[in-house]
């Protein structure tokens, strides 16, 4: 080979949120290695929060400097309007989740100790803490940032894995009911690995058809339209499976309840909010940018999946007796509502409208979810959190304020007006109606009505039933937890009463759609 290798151009300023998060994660690993045990947590905590804040600040700065018109990092990452908006949401939600994670009651003393063994007792006695949580979380967040903004399938796969692997580990770190937690972790890992394999295989097939992994290249190749259709269609289906698994769309939703239940609740809060946001970023990119030309082929399937997801989520949630499992199925139903927005494509203006609706929905849903799980962490039994719904009976009488806030979050999930959930749903459904998907919206509202049943059931339980004699106690919240609940409640109110500023922001982010 003669000649010189061209050095790649990297837009460091634009990519700095990602770089900051990854950098902090690596520093976190070094802290684990070098800092004495007693100091670790007090270093990790500010470092993590600062990193997330810094990343958020640079995201804002990036947005303020005007949206770039071409992809960064040699076309591997697209830092466009939607990406910046999604980054912003992910970073705020991650920041909030870290405040929840700062609670020793949540995490196992030593993950490697066999549950119930003398090792475990030893670990608990000596007050160990699994402080790896913080760098793992930062890696996951970094992965999310990459996943949601990747502009070629390869970068997207890297993002997917960097996001998922730390989450598999985090799921297994619950302090109480450790076997359940480890089971969740293994289940999530196995199913996640399968879905990643699907994604990878789909990518290979699409590459076989188009000869490129860049989203833009795929889109262009579809326009040229030659070669083996079968290869393309199977590849599309497999990419879809990998992505839909991450958002928990039916029939790929089976992992959600088990994982949400088993994982430490703070981690569940992080997953339920941020992973959904990141995954929708990726879904939109793949289906709109790369496979936009194939709309006629994937839309009918997506219709079916959206309907199935809404109905399955709403109906299965009714039968749940565990609060976390119920919220998991509720999150499945919400993924279905969001999918109605993904389907609502059309002309550019229509796409921008649908995109902005999805972005708003993600922001609204994310905050409410973190808030709801934060409340779940506070309702405790002798054996840890009181997950079973029957234990929540009469909570409204024991602590009316906490129950009131939780009821408010549930009403927001149900989409009652004057909560953020209502406008989220409204925006997505409005986009779907103007995209011509009226039947889908009718299914959507019917499943909202079904979903309202189980949200209301919890409210009935909390307010209209008498408390059990040995009911759970309400943990005195740490400053972090109360801050999270307050912030989430405030966001739910503000987005429900004055959504205009955030809608404007989402509109701006969506106006230019995705860059290619």
């Amino acid at each position: 080979m003669n000649g010189t290798i061209q050095a790649p151009t990297i837009e460091y300023a634009l990519l700095s949120p990602m770089l900051i998060v990854f950098g902090a994660a690596i520093i976190g690993v070094l802290i684990e290695a070098f800092a004495p045990r007693y100091l670790r947590k007090s270093i990790h905590m500010p470092l993590t929060l600062l990193a997330l804040l810094g990343a958020f600040a640079t995201t804002i700065l990036g947005a303020a400097n005007g949206l770039p018109t071409s992809a960064s990092a040699m076309g591997a990452v697209a830092v466009d309007g939607p990406a910046l908006f999604v980054w912003g949401i992910i970073l705020i939600l991650a920041f909030v989740s870290v405040l929840l994670i700062n609670d020793d009651e949540q995490f196992v003393a030593q993950a490697a100790a066999v549950p119930g063994s003398s090792d475990e007792e030893e670990a608990v006695r000596s007050g160990y803490a699994q402080t790896e949580v913080y760098p793992l979380l930062l890696f996951a967040v970094g992965g999310m940032l990459l996943f949601s903004s990747a502009n070629d399938l390869l970068a997207m796969f890297v993002g997917l894995e960097v996001m998922s692997l730390p989450l598999y580990l985090l799921c297994g770190l619950a302090r109480r009911r450790r076997l359940l937690s480890q089971e969740a972790s293994v289940k999530y890992f196995l199913l996640g690995a399968f879905s990643s394999a699907f994604f990878l295989y789909g990518m290979a097939l699409v590459y076989g058809y188009t000869g490129t992994v860049s989203l833009r290249g795929i889109g262009d190749a579809l326009g040229a339209g030659s070669g083996q259709e079968t290869l393309l269609l199977i590849g599309t289906a497999m990419l879809g499976v990998g992505l839909l698994f991450k958002i928990g769309a039916a029939p790929f939703q089976a992992w959600k309840p088990d994982v949400y239940q088993g994982a430490p609740t703070a981690v569940t809060a992080l997953m339920a909010s941020t992973v959904l946001v990141a995954a929708f970023g990726a879904v939109l990119r793949v289906f709109w940018v790369a496979l936009g030309g194939l709309e006629w082929n994937w839309q009918p399937v997506m219709w079916g999946i959206a309907i199935l997801t809404m109905v399955v989520g709403a109906i299965l949630a009714i039968t749940q007796t565990d609060i976390k499992r119920m919220l998991a199925y509720s999150s499945v139903a919400h993924a279905g509502f969001l999918l109605t927005g993904v389907i609502a494509t059309g002309a550019a203006a229509q796409n921008a409208k649908a995109l902005s609706a999805i972005l708003f929905y993600l922001a609204a849903y994310g905050f409410t979810t973190v808030g709801a799980f934060a409340v779940v962490t506070m309702v405790r039994d002798a054996g840890g959190e009181a997950g079973h719904l029957s234990r929540w009976a009469g909570l409204g009488k024991r602590s009316p304020f906490l129950a009131g806030v939780f009821a408010f979050f549930l009403l927001a999930f149900a989409g009652i007006p004057l909560t953020s959930g209502f406008f989220g749903k409204y925006a997505v459904f409005a986009a779907a109606v103007s995209g011509g998907a009226v039947p889908l919206v009718v299914v959507g509202v019917v499943s909202s009505a079904i979903a309202a049943f189980f949200y209301v059931r919890v409210i009935v339980l909390m307010f209209f039933n008498d408390p059990a004699a040995d009911g759970p106690s309400i943990a005195v919240p740490t400053v972090g937890t109360s801050a999270v609940v307050a912030l989430a409640a405030a966001a739910t109110v503000v987005l429900g009463v004055f959504p205009q500023p955030v809608l404007d922001l989402a509109d701006q982010a969506a106006s230019a759609l995705f860059i290619r």
Binding site: P417, F429, V445, S448, A452, F453, V456, V460, F464, Q500
Partner: protein
């Protein structure tokens, strides 16, 4: 002065104040004072209302709320909305006074003590929303109030109601929510199809021309209103909710909340979708007439006073719907007047039944007998309220029922004749209930009854007075209502006395 915003802000601020007061007694007094202030403001506003004004919505305020969705904070009243707001403002202080002991667990079979402050705060919040829902001139704002007002009522039934309260509350909420969500689809589609980029009601009139679209949207709105009103066969939630709700909440539920349904039919279904309304009129008339007869017959068979009153209301809502969809001037004005009078009449019935239940601790008719001998005033007012329920001439309900029947006879003779049988059936259910509870030998358990005390007389007195006054002199109300009904019917383009022209002329007009 922004009258309508003030009317909404005062009770909301009052609710905050009530929930902050530590002393239960003081909380009740504050709640009563706030509701009286609202009533006073409403009266002042009503005197400034000019029925002859060319402006359709008076005291109008329009501000951008969510420009992105074309949503405004738009309020304003015409005659129809004004009388309904006045009804709400009048009933709330009465209900507060009547509910003085509902929440503190001193009643004979009352549920355990609950937070008194919360109950009265919820009442005031509900008042603000009731005023808002009638005042909204933005369809979206109307929808927001329509749905949001379910929540305070849900908690009032679920926390302060009878034995089956949580079942009743959930049934109420889910029925209404389901109807509301169908309406949401129609609201979205209305916005999208109209392409006006606004939800302001006056601008949306006539915006939907395509008859097919009109029919679908009409159904979305109509089902929500039919559940809310409730029309047969969407009525099954009402007897449960009304029987389990505390008497005061039941008054607001049946007296005002359900009127939102019939009001919505009159205002939104007719005006936004005139062609579809005409198309569906036969169906609605049939439902209304079935409801009138069915509600009355089932009411006769009830053994529980509150359920009986609830079923009578289903019969009466049939009359209102009949009047709305007859689309004649008399029937429309009669239906509007009926909404108000029914609020007074049913309100009085529920409240006096509530006093009875408070004394005896049971709502079963069989547990009473001969009350008239021990509590003559209670029995007398109960009789007047009951007679207003069967529309005795001289009481205000007679005027409205007569107008509805007369107005609908112009167009739908058979329907009006069948509906008139409801009046006969009403005599049976009311008088038979009166006979079983008030006449005959005094039951053992009734012997210790006290008569109405001063507070209770203040509750019943105004309602009875209004029933009599408007029975002899309905003109002030009709003066306000008539121009508004005329305007409504003129935007439906109905020609009087020529039945069902619309379908023949086709959709283009």
């Amino acid at each position: 002065m922004p009258w309508l915003s003030t009317l909404m802000a005062v009770p909301v601020l009052g609710a905050v104040g009530v929930s902050l007061v530590k002393n239960d007694k003081l909380a009740k007094q504050v709640a009563l004072a706030v509701s009286l202030v609202v009533l006073a403001l409403t009266v002042v506003m009503a005197t400034r209302f000019d029925p002859a004004s060319a402006e359709r919505f008076q005291f109008a305020e329009v501000h951008q709320w969510i420009p992105r969705f074309g949503v405004h904070y738009g309020v304003g009243v015409d005659g129809i909305a004004l009388v309904l707001i006045a009804l709400s403002a009048l009933l709330v202080p009465i209900v507060i006074l009547a509910s003085w002991h509902d929440a503190d667990g001193t009643g004979a079979a009352a549920p355990p003590k609950r937070s008194v402050r919360t109950y009265f705060a919820l009442l005031l919040v509900l008042e603000a929303m009731m005023i808002g829902v009638f005042a909204a001139t933005d369809v979206f704002l109307f929808y927001v109030f329509f749905e949001a007002m379910l929540i305070p009522m849900y908690f009032m039934i679920g926390s302060y109601g009878g034995v089956q309260r949580s079942y009743a509350a959930v049934k109420f909420l889910l029925y209404s929510l389901f109807g509301g969500l169908l309406m949401l689809v129609a609201v979205i589609a209305l916005y999208v199809v109209a392409e006006k980029n606004t939800f302001m009601f006056p601008e949306l009139i006539g915006a939907i021309q395509d008859p097919g679209t009109q029919k679908w949207l009409f159904l979305g709105f109509f089902i929500a209103f039919a559940v809310k009103a409730p029309l047969w066969p969407f009525h099954t939630w009402l007897p449960d909710a009304a029987a389990q709700a505390p008497a005061g909440a039941a008054v607001l539920l049946v007296g005002v909340l359900d009127k939102v349904g019939t009001y919505g039919m009159l205002r939104f279904c007719l005006e936004l979708f005139p062609e579809a309304s005409k198309f569906f009129t036969p169906l609605v008339i049939v439902l209304a007439v079935v409801g009138i007869v069915y509600g009355a017959i089932v009411a006769i068979g009830q053994t529980d006073m509150k359920r009986l009153i609830a079923y009578t209301s289903i019969s009466h809502f049939g009359f209102i719907a009949l009047g709305v969809f007859a689309m004649t001037k008399d029937a429309g004005a009669g239906a509007t007047l009926y909404m108000v009078n029914h609020g007074f009449s049913t309100g009085a019935l529920f409240l006096i039944a509530g006093f009875l239940i408070y004394r005896r601790g049971s709502s079963r008719i069989a547990d009473y007998g001969g009350v008239q001998k021990v509590s003559p005033v209670l029995a007398g007012t109960f009789l007047i309220a009951g007679l207003s329920g069967l529309s005795l001439p001289g009481l205000s309900t007679f005027v409205s029922e007569f107008m509805v029947l007369m107005g609908s006879y112009e167009r739908y003779k058979v329907a009006a004749i069948i509906a008139a049988s409801g009046v006969v059936l009403a005599a049976i259910y009311i008088l038979w209930m009166y006979q079983r509870t008030m006449n005959g030998p005094t039951a053992e358990s009734v012997k210790g009854f006290t008569d109405l005390n001063a507070r209770e007389r203040w509750v019943v007195g105004p309602l009875v007075a209004l029933l009599i006054v408007f029975g002899f002199f309905p003109k002030p109300m009709l003066d306000v209502i008539n121009p508004a009904v005329d305007k409504t019917l003129s935007s439906v383009h109905v020609t009087p006395f020529t039945p069902a022209v619309a379908e023949k002329k086709g959709a283009g007009q």
